[in-house]
Symmetry: C2
Subunit: 341 residues, 2 copies
């Protein structure tokens, strides 16, 4: 197992990434890692975390970085020597089995689409975000790779999502729902109404339209959406969770008694926070790309980096992409047959 890790990705790179790698080599001592980024900076942190002589770690120099503020297209065109582009090239050339970046989602989607292309039969890749629900977790896809989608894209997301959810949730027939604005079949926007008809015909466990409130009650294992609404759901949940803790602090600071009480209960709040903690998940696979690519949160901490690398290794071991190619082939053939009839 050899994984390219974008050392320059995320808000606290490269320090956090290499600290995360120091956790990873303890858990996966046999894996090999290519740290992609500015060599001098990477070397400094490898020394700092005692990894300078680790035979499983090599450095691949990349001159530039896609800053979080760079527009995706410009990041790709203008920064051909960026760490993200270099990761994608290593993956394309077969020099690594997977890539992990806690960086710029848009630039990663753009770079992997151009360099690696999508898997045979897949039109668009989708970011599969692992989110919390009351009974467990659900997979939201697309969480933001494609702001504009067609009904066919959504159909393919459903096929890919079912396959990944089978592995992730250890369920043979995970439930698949379509994000919409009403529970009834006929509700939705033009896109979801069209997608509904396609999802109905797939040999998946389709549970119909799902609203953004009930998904948190666990009504589906996989939630299919275009990347715009999906990103709104993901980011909205992040923003509200943060605000909830701000509001909680505000009511707790109203008097001294409450403040003392809150101090005593720090564990309660820590456990509550853990339900929504993206760092426990680590990263979202970009499903449908011809290569295993895991995108972590820009604010990833070392634990998140470790978890993102774990997700990458799991996808490789599961032979995820072979299964996706087979699933998409079957779906496309069924569509062609229906069109011919």
């Amino acid at each position: 197992m050899k994984i390219a890790v974008d050392a320059m990705g995320g808000d606290y790179a490269p320090g956090v990434v290499i600290e995360g790698l120091s956790l990873t080599v303890q858990e996966y001592p046999d894996y090999d890692f290519v740290l992609v980024g500015h060599e001098a900076k990477v070397r400094f942190y490898l020394e700092k975390y005692g990894l300078a002589d680790n035979p499983h770690i090599s450095i691949f120099h990349a001159e530039s970085v896609c800053e979080m503020s760079d527009p995706s297209a410009i990041a790709l065109r203008g920064k051909k020597d960026s760490s993200i582009t270099a990761c994608a090239k290593l993956l394309k050339e077969g020099k690594v089995d997977a890539m992990v970046t806690p960086g710029h989602t848009g630039a990663t989607v753009a770079a992997t689409k151009v360099l690696l292309r999508t898997l045979p039969g897949v039109d668009r890749p989708a970011l599969a975000a692992n989110m919390p629900s009351q009974p467990g977790r659900f997979l939201l896809m697309d969480a933001g790779a494609n702001p504009d989608c067609t009904a066919l894209n959504l159909e393919q997301f459903a096929v890919m999502g079912e396959i990944y959810a089978q592995y992730l949730f250890k369920k043979e027939r995970p439930t698949v729902g379509l994000l919409s604005v009403g529970g009834e079949d006929i509700k939705g926007c033009d896109l979801t109404k069209e997608a509904f008809k396609r999802l109905e015909k797939l040999p998946i466990n389709f549970v119909g339209n799902v609203e953004a409130d009930t998904i948190f009650e666990g009504v589906a294992d996989v939630l299919i959406s275009d990347g715009f609404a999906g990103n709104v759901l993901l980011k909205g949940a992040e923003g509200l969770a943060k605000s909830t803790f701000v509001w909680l602090k505000r009511v707790l600071k109203k008097n001294t008694l409450r403040y003392v009480w809150a101090m005593l209960a720090a564990n309660v709040f820590r456990e509550l926070k853990a339900f929504g903690d993206a760092d426990n998940v680590g990263g979202a696979p970009l499903l449908g790309i011809n290569g295993i690519c895991i995108i972590g949160h820009g604010s990833s901490n070392p634990k998140a980096v470790l978890n993102a690398i774990r997700v990458a290794a799991e996808c490789v071991n599961f032979r995820l992409n072979e299964k996706i190619v087979a699933g998409i082939k079957a779906a496309n053939e069924a569509n062609a047959q229906r069109a011919a009839e």
Copy 2:
């Protein structure tokens, strides 16, 4: 002031609606109310809440009810005698100044569009939801009236939203943001990219693209969106808030000490809950309809009914629709002038 109240709307009608009216008549003893719904049922609850002899309350019989599970179009076409349709007719005929329904959003939008039409120059109405942010509140529109929108619709939402926010937040120049998937100007989907160009040209305090996480930090007073993504944000926030309390209960029930501790802190959780409490807002105006129409949450409690009626009266007193007509006229003229140049 005379307001039509859909007595049959919402999950707990007509009891909750009439209980809410009993609160309202105490606060607004001079207002007149037309309770629209099944006469015998309405009369039963008027007796129950001691309102049977109130000279300010009359009943308008409506035979049927739009159930929450009825599809909007069918609710409208198949139930011409529904309480929602009857409210819209009373409003159209000038027999009331405003209507309030804690009921079926889709059916209300459909009925008011057909019977009342939109205000001159307005293409589509938008549901303006008042939502919590860390520093205060923001107005989300469209929160779900139009699953599919054009860039022109979004432009008009911005014009209407600014006007309502001026009143609601007592700000002369409320900030207006565009819900998108990236903070940078060039990010978004086809619709938001097109809408961005239109919003830039409006004489409003436009702050550009806003992501679904930062809106909760209070980066804009008004958030413009199509009704699909807007509804996903609204419902997603509702769902996550509910789940957060479920998760909180779960960590609090882990041991007896925590449980006792939580009992002592019931006030804290009540205050926390109040931040997101839709009942304090009561209802969302359907802006752009030729008549004041307030739509409450289906699960409205009596306090929410009172607050929704208050919102209706405020919109009437503010002469909201006259201001919207003037604002839209100016925007449309500016567009025509630009097109001619």
